[in-house]
């Protein structure tokens, strides 16, 4: 833990490191002077004039420390405080510098912008196990619901390094990047866990062809930072930019983009390291079976190490929105969003608990000037307002009603215009609660052929209300059909129902979630849809195979490419039972559907 987090006040008052902004400076100055006045008066009145002298080191020390931090904010050294020795002009200049001048908008030599995080929220590098001095580490995901003990963590720094490791070892392997999947898709018990986050180089970039090739340990936000100066934008990604490319490819993710669909639609080619350490290139024409099996294949066939991705222009987008009834949503969407060439992002938010009202939010291309100056989303150290709203919506009486009828109407009063890269740069940190110990926020997702939108919504809302699920939001997005990945979730044009809910973390509650999840899966299967796989593995094998009819083809391919069943994770451990390898006991927490 950094000193800054442990002792915020003494860090602020008595160290000269870091930066503070104007409002923090005013606040801390008010604190210093009022405290000095109070202590000075009390000491003088009750102890004696002489006793007040002990306050001076504290006063002068804290004044110098806070002023130095403020100077740092405008990229000046603390030695500039000596300017105070110039009569009149010195103090005036300092008052302006300290109290009124804006800090430099980017990171400078003295640190990051105050209240802005240095980087996107990251998961740890594997927690060590207390009192167990082995190489074993606990690999967990962002929900903290799926701890898995792995034998060792390995961080390759080059592809050759990774190939070497696979060639020279046997035994199970799990692969993780950002680890934002929510059902143990990045770990398997006692496996060698490969943390891909150091394979994060940009291999080639062509502005003319709007094409970029990257190592898959890179995060989407890193690509955004690289391509933004070239006025380019990622073609398809998810809403949050913390994820690694490899992770997003493995789950074949999608975002809020219009006219697109699963991530695979923007991938030209990939390179895969197979279980024996060989490197294979795959595209729609070259090793197509591997291409379609690896993307969206939950790391069953091999480790995707590079990807060639399409890019698009970074345009300014303006937010438009309307509130409408659930029954009018699909006609509205088909009529005015689906084929609108200007629509860039779209989602429809369903308001719990009745799910009858929706707010359709569309970001359309515009030639107007963006209303925010920054081209990329600034990261914040904390999101107190977001945290408060999430708490209020989920824990207070009428919280959901207030959100629908008071908070959201106020939030949507503005008509912001963002750069496409800004709007695609959210940080998962904004969703993070203070603690995930007793309650946690979890995602699920269901894909419904667009003609069955109404009937699935009806069933979903009935199930949620019957089980009193604490749903925060159901966000509806749209996807065009997949181009052929074996575990395609969009085999035709679908609406994606992204369900964000809150659950308690004790066993009874986890079991309850498993039960309503399976009911919801049955509901989506009944309308010819599918559920999404990066989440908790509550579906029965039967449900899984009904939802993903091509899974058997993928299993056969895995048998061929990974005969020793090296590539594992909770997903594969749950649904894949090859006969050739020695039987392995299932991890405990995957047995809860029996």
């Amino acid at each position: 833990m950094r000193l800054k987090d442990k002792l915020p006040l003494s860090y602020l008052l008595f160290t000269t490191r870091g930066r503070i902004n104007r409002s923090a400076y005013w606040l801390v100055s008010a604190f210093i002077w009022s405290t000095f006045y109070v202590l000075h008066t009390l000491l003088r009145d009750f102890v004696g004039e002489g006793a007040t002298y002990c306050l001076y080191p504290l006063l002068l020390g804290s004044l110098v420390a806070t002023a130095t931090k403020r100077l740092h904010d405008t990229n000046r050294s603390g030695y500039w405080l000596l300017v105070v020795l110039v009569p009149v002009l010195g103090p005036l200049w300092l008052i302006y510098q300290l109290g009124f001048r804006k800090g430099t908008p980017q990171q400078n030599g003295f640190g990051t912008v105050p209240n802005e995080a240095a980087d996107y929220l990251k998961n740890d590098r594997g927690q060590s196990i207390p009192h167990r001095p082995t190489a074993e580490r606990i690999i967990n995901d962002v929900t903290q619901l799926n701890p898995v003990v792995v034998a060792k963590v390995f961080r390759p720094t080059s592809i050759a390094h990774l190939q070497e490791r696979l060639r020279t070892t046997t035994g199970p392997i799990s692969v993780g990047g950002g680890r934002f999947s929510m059902g143990g898709q990045t770990a398997s018990q006692q496996s060698l866990h490969i943390d891909m986050r150091e394979l994060n180089q940009i291999i080639s970039f062509s502005k003319e062809n709007r094409l970029i090739t990257v190592q898959t340990g890179i995060r989407w936000c890193d690509i955004q930072r690289f391509i933004d100066p070239h006025d380019l934008s990622i073609k398809i990604m998810q809403t949050y930019a913390n994820f690694t490319v490899g992770g997003a490819l493995s789950v074949n993710c999608h975002g809020r983009y219009m006219g697109h669909g699963p991530l695979i639609l923007s991938v030209r080619a990939i390179e895969v390291v197979l279980a024996n350490g060989t490197l294979v290139r795959a595209s729609r024409t070259e090793n197509p079976a591997l291409f379609y099996g690896a993307i969206g294949g939950y790391n069953g066939l091999g480790i995707m190490v590079t990807a060639e991705l399409d890019l698009e222009d970074n345009v300014a987008v303006r937010r438009e929105h309307q509130k409408l009834d659930r029954l009018t949503y699909r006609p509205f969407f088909v009529e005015s969003i689906r084929d609108n060439p200007d629509a860039v992002f779209h989602n429809g938010d369903m308001y719990p608990p009745s799910f009858t009202n929706m707010r359709a939010v569309t970001w359309v291309k515009t030639t107007q000037k963006p209303t925010v100056k920054k081209r990329l989303m600034p990261l914040r150290e904390s999101y107190p307002l977001e945290r408060y709203f999430l708490w209020a919506f989920t824990e207070t009486a009428f919280g959901k009603w207030r959100r629908e009828h008071i908070v959201d109407p106020l939030l949507y009063l503005a008509h912001p215009i963002h750069w496409r890269n800004y709007e695609a740069g959210y940080d998962v940190a904004e969703l993070e609660p203070r603690s995930r110990k007793k309650r946690t926020y979890v995602l699920q997702e269901y894909f419904v052929p667009i003609w069955h939108f109404e009937s699935f919504s009806e069933q979903m809302s009935e199930i949620f209300n019957r089980y009193q699920v604490n749903v925060i939001n159901v966000s509806v997005r749209h996807a065009l059909p997949d181009s052929g990945s074996l575990l395609a979730w969009a085999r035709e044009e679908v609406f994606a129902f992204v369900v964000y809910y809150k659950q308690r973390t004790h066993a009874v509650e986890k079991n309850k979630v498993a039960i309503w999840t399976r009911e919801l899966i049955d509901a989506v299967l009944s309308v010819g849809g599918t559920y999404y796989l990066p989440y908790q593995v509550h579906a029965t094998p039967d449900q899984f195979h009904r939802a993903y009819p091509n899974a058997q083809t993928l299993f056969a391919l895995k048998q061929e490419l990974d005969p020793a069943f090296r590539f594992r994770n909770v997903f594969w451990d749950t649904y894949y039972h090859p006969t050739v390898t020695e039987p392995r006991s299932l991890p405990q927490h995957t047995t809860n559907y029996e």
Partner: protein
């Protein structure tokens, strides 16, 4: 980090409580709640005999008090500076006395006269300026001055001596002329020529040079601006006060300070006396020659007088009423007493005061 805002709010609240509580009630003591002056003493003269160009509003005798406090206060500082460094001077108490006394005098006139906007604005401007100046000085002296001040608090450096002289010259000047006409600029080179660079108490010398230079520079600049502003918004004030006495005292020759302008058929006389500081000695001489005042600057209502008297002085007379008292903080045992008397009783009151062991500080001649 929610802790800091909460702590700050608590501390600011505590500081305000301490500041307000601190000796508040002993700094300015009103003679009573609200208006203590008889209502019939607070009526504008309906038919003044004094020529119109010499008439000034009746409420101004009260409103000039805060203005004059800003002469009394530097006078007290100059006096204090003879024996001590000004580092230990109670600046903030003077700020309180200024605003409290403004409150008291306003209480006397607010129901009797229409609101004198121009005058109040002027008081606010000089009041706020002085508050800022005194607060800055108090802050500087607390944070820096205290650390370099000799423990006995006496004047030991050339710079503190320079300060004492400068303060005294300044007070002598503002008794007769507006403050902004004072020549601050010429004091700046003097600060460096009249003091040595090295010497004992070196830190103190540096600190004082820094502080005095800052003060002189700011006052020179601010004075220049105020001079421009005053020229633009206020007319040049008359340097005289017109007085009507029931009869010109026999044997009182028209001297340099009293100008006998006119005698009316009933024997009353229109005289021109000097205004401000010199009004009091001239008026006292007249009173002692037995003159009875009918109008001062066209007014026959109440006129304010302040005296410096020992703590125990408790005068009672039907001719005047006490308005408030203020202790002189740097001279324990001494207090300022503000009293009012109707113009008709002014001569009598002055004669009474002359017989007491007190000093008339000022007569507020509208």
């Amino acid at each position: 980090m929610l802790r800091l805002p909460i702590l700050t709010m608590l501390m600011v609240l505590l500081a305000i409580i301490l500041f307000v509580r601190h000796k508040r009630n002993q700094l300015t003591i009103p003679a009573g709640k609200g208006c203590v002056v008889p209502k019939d003493w607070l009526v504008s003269n309906p038919h003044p005999v004094t020529p119109a160009e010499h008439i000034r509003p009746a409420d101004q005798t009260f409103l000039t008090y805060p203005e004059w406090f800003l002469v009394h206060s530097p006078a007290e500082i100059a006096d204090y500076a003879q024996g001590h460094t000004t580092t230990t001077f109670p600046y903030m108490s003077h700020v309180k006395q200024l605003w409290q006394s403004y409150g008291v005098v306003y209480d006397q006139i607010k129901d009797a006269f229409p609101f004198n906007t121009g005058y109040h604005i002027m008081i606010w401007v000089i009041g706020v300026s002085t508050t800022v100046e005194y607060a800055m000085k108090a802050l500087y002296e607390t944070v820096v001055g205290r650390l370099t001040n000799p423990t006995h608090g006496g004047v030991v450096t050339d710079e503190d001596t320079f300060n004492a002289k400068f303060t005294q010259d300044y007070v002598d000047f503002i008794r007769v002329r507006p403050w902004y006409e004072f020549d601050f600029k010429s004091r700046i080179p003097a600060l460096f020529t009249n003091t040595s660079f090295f010497g004992p108490h070196f830190l103190r010398k540096i600190d004082r040079k820094y502080m005095l230079l800052t003060e002189l520079l700011i006052k020179a600049g601010y004075g220049y601006l105020i001079k421009l502003g005053t020229k633009a918004s206020y007319d040049e004030a008359l340097p005289t006060t017109a007085v009507i006495v029931d009869q010109f005292p026999p044997g009182f020759g028209s001297g340099p300070s009293v100008d006998h302008l006119q005698t009316y058929p009933d024997g009353s006389a229109l005289l021109l006396l000097p205004r401000y500081e010199a009004f009091h000695p001239a008026a006292t001489t007249l009173a002692q020659h037995g003159a009875t005042f009918r109008e001062i600057a066209g007014n026959n209502s109440a006129i304010l007088i302040t005296v410096l008297a020992p703590e125990s002085w408790q005068p009672v007379s039907p001719a005047f009423r006490l308005v408030f008292t203020q202790p002189i903080l740097t001279k324990p045992g001494l207090k300022r007493v503000a009293l009012v008397t109707p113009v008709g009783e002014f001569g009598k009151t002055i004669r009474f005061l002359s017989g007491e062991t007190i000093r008339v500080e000022h007569v507020y001649d509208y």
